[in-house]
Amino acid sequence: MPSARYLSISNITKSFGGFTALQNLNLDIGRGEFVCFLGPSGCGKTTLLRIIAGLEIQTAGSIEQDNEDISLRPPSKRDFGIVFQSYALFPNLSIRRNVAYGIESRQVSRQETNARVDELLKLVNLADQVDKYPAQLSGGQQQRVALARALAPSPGLLLLDEPLSALDASVRHQLRHEIRSLQNRLGVTTIMVTHDQEEALTMADRIVVMNHGTIEQVGTPHEIYANPVTPFVAQSIGHMNLIECTASGPGKLQLNEAVLIHSADAAPVSGLALAAIRPEDILILKDKKKTENRVDGTVTTIEFRGQSYRLSVAVADMNDVELTVDISAQNKRDMSLEEGDKIGLKLPAESLHVFDGQE
């Protein structure tokens, strides 16, 4: 975690009636960090965001922001700006009045307010739209107005609740960069809720992967991708082959005849285990030599994906488990692979992740 701690979440629990939405969560966020809460719908990520905002109240636990306990403060007494999926722009107010909403007051002159609004709209590239109404703008423009409105009072914390999910793919890509570079420039601590792994990977300093009201893993996008600590995390970012097998000693796995050697830490030494490997980490062997971690199988489908091909291989040695293998277009051409070919696969020991198979 970089720099000083800014937001600290301790033992947060939230239950609705008998349903537990969040279970004893702990999380520290540093000043100026961009953090994504990632998880499927219903995992509690939005609930956690709303608790940080004070729009929901936790059943137990506390929140500290900038060394102050804000656990029981109403939203209007907290220091944050928020952007919702629906934008929630005031439809009957002009863009100017929307952005000015949080900063206009009797103490501030009209000129000062207007200057600040112009500055913010320039920041989000909408300086020329100031007198229009929200309905006259495109979805992406509306989202940027919502962003400008949230940033107007210079909050210490920016909360984004699935801000991009209502937009077209191309607009979404563009806004990702805009939001991130804006956040970098302003240095405002930011939390974004998303269910889109690509969004989280490309935007976040750190990702918080959530599932069933608990935090599965916290880490940089690279850590989460390279070293997932649970099968859920492994599957929720990128593609991952999961193989149910048995641990047969330290660094050793077994499934039918196949024996796999691995170098994963904290792996079970006996009982059920779950081996995991990324499609791009599997190597194709054209020869017939018996080597370590080699399994044999048949290519069932070949899917063209532009710069690469994705193969499905039914592995005879392992109960016909289907493995997904990515190879470059170049490689595929060199090997002249066809559906139905028999091939050998190498699952390199250092690329294997091993999880306890009991859970």
């Binding site: 936790q58 939203p75 209007s76 009957n92 309905a135």
Partner: protein, 565 residues
Amino acid sequence: MSDTKTSIAPLKQKIDGEGLFRRGVLVFLTLYLILVLALPLAMMVFKSVQDHDGNVIGLQNYIEYFSTPSLFQSIFNSIYISSITTTITVVLAFIFAYGLHRSCIPFKGVFRALAMTPLLVPSLLSGISLIYLFGRQGVLTPLLFGNSIYGPIGIIVASVFFTFPYAFIILSTALSLADQRLYETAISLRASRWKIFWTVTLPGARYGLISAIFVVFIATFTDFGVPKTIGGNFNVLPVDIYKQVIGQQNFEMGAVVSTLLLLPAVLAFLVDQMARKNQVANLSANSVPYEPRKNRRFDAAMLIYCSLISSFVILIIITSQLAALIKFWPYNLSLSLDNYDFDRFAGGGWQSFKNSLQLAVYTSVIGTGFIFIGAYIVEKTKDAKLLREMFQFLAMLPMAIPGMVLGLSYIFFFNHPANPMSFLYGTMAILVISTLTHYYTVAHLTMTTAIKQLDPEFESVSMSLGQPSHKVVRLVTLPICLPTILDVFFYIFVRAMTTVSVVVFLYSSDTSLASIAMLNMGDLGDNAPAAAMGMMIFYVNVAARLFNGVISSSLRKRTQAWRTR
């Protein structure tokens, strides 16, 4: 994970001044509705098990009621009248709404306006018109082939007239929700027009049909003006209540009949509530609205049908207008304004008309404010769940309470010597309170629907920007809801001008109303001035509606610029 579930008390946000204020208002509104609705009704039911001296005598009054054939015959009469009226009205209104939504006929706006016209006059006006058309000296009496208009025939025809708009509004909404894609799919499957009607149109409108059936049934079952005017010796429950209370001063028996009138109305109300809930689930945001296609024969048939129905509405209004202007039907057919000289007749004269205006203005001004605040707070408050549910229930209840029953229960409650509020009895204030209570539900529903359509995060955004919550109300909620607020205002205004049943027990000689004057003049055989008074109400309501239209559209131009792209 299972250990800490129930042992700890949940945390609570500190309630600030605003939260406290909201809760205070909600408590006040709930207590108010308990006071003007729940307590009087309880008192009335209690009265039905008492004797004249206030001793509790159990079900004695009910036993007496059911052992008097002339009394309980009215139950069958009421059910008979209401069933036939409901069948006729719903069928006629369904075809009418179908014509407006599914054909390409011209003048749809005119037809719609005419279909709604009966709402602008008291229900008994159609009774008076029917007397002129089919009464002993009526122009069209031979068409009855010797049957009398005084009795079931008259009640049914007049009831169909005044319940038509209720059914039309509901069915019109149900039919406007059709999804074009369903029809395109049906056509692509080569279904005939007839088959599409039975498999797509009717199922799509089924909740609307159920709703219309119950609303029309309750309206007829509980109406007092029509059977009083044209019922002759044919007794129905609301007239019995009137006779028991006003004629015989037998309040206890009035309470018994009222309780009997209340039961089916409450039952119908519950069924209707369930039907409405299901209708909502029928809507989806990505439906494609239905566009009717030209079809010459069908369009011609629909045009003829809609014209016929509209002519009937015009006939009733014109008859009443002529009755008001003709000097002495049928002997002196010259026109004059003599019948508008209300001070010459019983019923309170011009003063009663002024009182009606006063009542309509007071009720709509106070009521609109009351209803907006109630709807806003109940929709936008998150805590105080029990209190909100109680308020919500009390706000829905008036729909199930017949006007006469509410009026009678007010006598028992507000005229009770031990009630510190008994000074209200016989004043304009009690008329305002009873009228507002009676029409509360529809206004409340209209308002909450409008507020529900607002993005629920407006308040969250405003709070996150550190602004007080009255700011978002002032700058956003109120301006956006203004068209609905106006609709509610004029709805209450028009209803207050036309109501009879809710105020018939509560007016005093100083606070007689135009609709009551109509009733009393009609009672004495002065049908012409009664028709004239009815037309006065009609003029005012037409003016109010036009006024509503004018301000709404100018408002839309000025402050709702954001609606247009």
